[in-house]
Point group: C2
Chain length 192, copies 2
Amino acid sequence: MTSETPASTERTRIRRLPEKAVDDVAVLHAVLDAARDRLLLHGSTGSRLFRRLAEGIDVCVAVTLLDGMVLARSAFESSMHYRSAVVFGRATEVDDKVAALRAMSEAWLPGRWDTLRPPNARELAATMVLALPLDEWSVKVSDGPPEDAAEDLDAPVWAGVLPIVTSYGDPVPAPDLRGDPQPWAGRFTSGT
Amino acid sequence: MTSETPASTERTRIRRLPEKAVDDVAVLHAVLDAARDRLLLHGSTGSRLFRRLAEGIDVCVAVTLLDGMVLARSAFESSMHYRSAVVFGRATEVDDKVAALRAMSEAWLPGRWDTLRPPNARELAATMVLALPLDEWSVKVSDGPPEDAAEDLDAPVWAGVLPIVTSYGDPVPAPDLRGDPQPWAGRFTSGT
């Protein structure tokens, strides 16, 4: 089940700066890297954490994206742009591991999965994939310009926002690269 | 007291991929944004979390930097470059709040602090600054090229690392900017 608005529970109520609370599920999806109705988690079957999660213990996943520095005329009003999501729930193991792993790979490196050989039985046996439903969640967003007090507006300093941009640098080929494959052409930026 | 090597305790022992454990305090400092012998935390005196921390409860701070995508010839060997630090301890309130706030500001936006008016009494009263000693910690680093199995080396795909670079985008002036101050000239990149 997908909640278009978050379940309003005591543990999802935003207490600090509640005016920054957002109940738009599309913002949740963006913070969670385009997760739609569930959040996929993968790890080693040897991980104590993952074994405990698979037992169905209560879990809380928190994801924060840092989007910019807010330069106000005072240090006190200076802050950061961020988008922060918290999801509560219990995870279950995913039956179709290959489809779930492919979906994660496509989120990170679109098109890469289909260029690789399929996972083999040993690799799949060593990998656990869990799904956490997006039923109980909160999202908090800090954006907009600095909000200086009127008496600070004449300070002779620049004020505004420095966006933080994440991108790929120049690809570094593996030392044992054979043949002449071209560097992988994927690109991404934060904030999408 | 500064530990040049981490206290070896049960809770700082790296269990998963222990070969990635690092005991170089300089790496810890880099992950913690140049913190030297203590980690400074600041927040609102109205924050329940900060009030509890100031009481001296046990705290664990975890910081992870994502440095790159590792593209192997198989999905299974594909991974990420990261640097991850965990610090355990108990925080105490900092006496010289202004000096501590200045140090934090200098870490984020070098030179900015001295262009701003000093914090006033109301602002300082609303701000709590805590220090966590760097005595009990662990650091884990994932770097290097992909480590593919010999039988995958002839796969006709590019393999290597896509570094992840963080930088500032074009400054966005505040709508109420007065006069003609030039955009703040600070720049930073991740991984420093």
